[in-house]
Amino acid sequence: MITKTEIAEPEVQFTNEPVIKLSNVSKSFGTNKVLKDFDFVLNKGENVVVLGKSGSGKSVLIKCIIGLIKPDSGKINVLGKNIPELRNEELDKIRAKVGFLFQSNALYDSMSVRENLEFPLRRHKAKMVKTQIDELVVEALTNVGLAHTIDMRTSELSGGMKKRIALARTLILKPEIILYDEPTTGLDPITGKEISKLMRELAKTYHTSSIIISHDLNCVKIVADSIVMLIDGKCYAQGKYEELERSTDKKIQEFFL
């Protein structure tokens, strides 16, 4: 059971300086309108959880933010740039500052742990020398407690270890923002709790802001400064965990039962 002390307290005071701002974002797949004029703001240092039912468009939302999916309309302002209007080279510069943890970890099967972590460094920072790359790889692995796995193949790792390695790869470029897509899905409750605590610690260490997509209320309690309820393609409600948990609105209550 999650104790009161594990519930997120804002250790880092977040400012009112928006790092991500979405205005009237809409996205449809055929006749299915997933996002309908969605508005959202993420301030610097803030960790916001997006809660919603399966298929409600949570993953689509963060994929729009990173430019993997193009919205039908609306503005997605990330670190001062409107993502849908950017050319590939400009988009790559923004992506170097935004980490993305995939639901399936998305570790490259054909590479070792070291090569997986080196990959974004070699791509985004082509001029970096090998000793610098090695230092950063070891630092990122040490921060997730898996320095000993550096020369292992990803197929040799457990589910929890894969998640930590994926987290290390996300953090290796020292991003300003991290987007987490269901970070504890598929993990047992104990490992899920460890990953959630690690996310919280790393947010402090790396001074990141983050959007976390999650169904896991234990994870939500640990990592969220505030929660956005994504219902019917819109931001239905926003508030702290305790506030939403006490809500009498039936649509909100469904998530906390």
Binding site: I66, L68, R95, F102, Y108, F119, P120
Partner: protein, 255 residues
């Protein structure tokens, strides 16, 4: 309304053509993924060597053994090296090698890219500042286009050696006589067109494998379907391209 088979065939043909067009648009612009291209040449070319060599050897041996009785019947046994060398170099070695590669390389690329797609590795690559089309697709298509002709040259040589052994199972043909007859018979007009067509075979195999894998969906079921349809379509394309090549060579009077 459910699209009929003809419409979906035309749609898919159009998609494959666009995919191939994207290859030409992106492959020759920087940034060049040379290291990945060499890695793919190793996997597609070098790793296929044993399979291609064994198959070519057996084909050369079998074709010679099978042709012998008919030639003996017409008293033309001495023509065995001539006949075998022309049929092997012009047709059998290129097509059999391409079919072997369609099975091995086409399915491998389809399954690998398909599994990368469903496990979001392709998205992760894009987020890491890499153009996945250039890194994964362009390198594989180029490697297949350039290594399959080399494999065919090797298959030509090995199958002709198999033919030599086959000719000596029931008869006696000296090493010198066999190779003299082979090289007297073969002209550039036999060798060059048959090698040129293998570049197209390689391009087709690489493109179809990548197209099927890159556009894979439906989860793990989709990975199997991608690998399977990559083999089926690229094998069929090899035959269609071979038919076209024969017609063009005939029209140009190169035979």
């Amino acid at each position: 309304m459910t699209p009929n088979i003809f419409t979906s065939f035309l749609n898919e043909t159009g998609d494959i053509a666009r995919f191939a067009g994207r290859f030409f648009k992106e492959a020759f612009k920087p940034r060049y993924e040379f290291a990945e291209f060499l890695r793919q040449c190793f996997f597609i070319g070098y790793k296929s060597l044993p399979l291609v060599a064994i198959t070519a050897f057996i084909m050369g041996l079998v074709i010679t053994i099978q042709s012998r009785p008919t030639l003996v019947e017409f008293g033309a046994e001495a023509w065995l090296p001539k006949m075998v060398s022309v049929s092997l170099v012009r047709e059998i070695a290129p097509v059999i090698t391409a079919l072997i590669c369609a099975g091995k390389i086409g399915s491998g690329i389809g399954a690998e890219l398909g599994s990368m797609k469903v496990t979001e590795q392709i998205d992760a690559m894009e987020v890491s500042g890499t153009n996945p089309f250039k890194f994964l697709v362009a390198t594989r298509i180029m490697a297949a286009t350039l290594t399959i002709p080399i494999l065919v040259v090797l298959a030509d040589a090995v199958s002709l050696y198999g033919g030599y052994l086959g000719a000596n199972i029931r008869g006696v043909v000296s090493w010198d006589l066999y190779w003299n007859q082979v090289f007297d018979t073969l002209a550039f007009s036999d060798v060059i067109p048959s090698i040129i067509k293998t570049f197209f075979f390689g391009f087709a195999i690489g493109t179809i494998g990548c197209y099927k894998g890159y556009n894979s969906n439906k989860g793990t079921e989709g990975v199997g379907l991608s690998a399977n349809s990559a083999v089926v379509i690229s094998s069929l394309l090899v035959f269609i391209l071979d038919l076209l090549a024969v017609q063009i060579i005939d029209l140009l009077s190169l035979t």
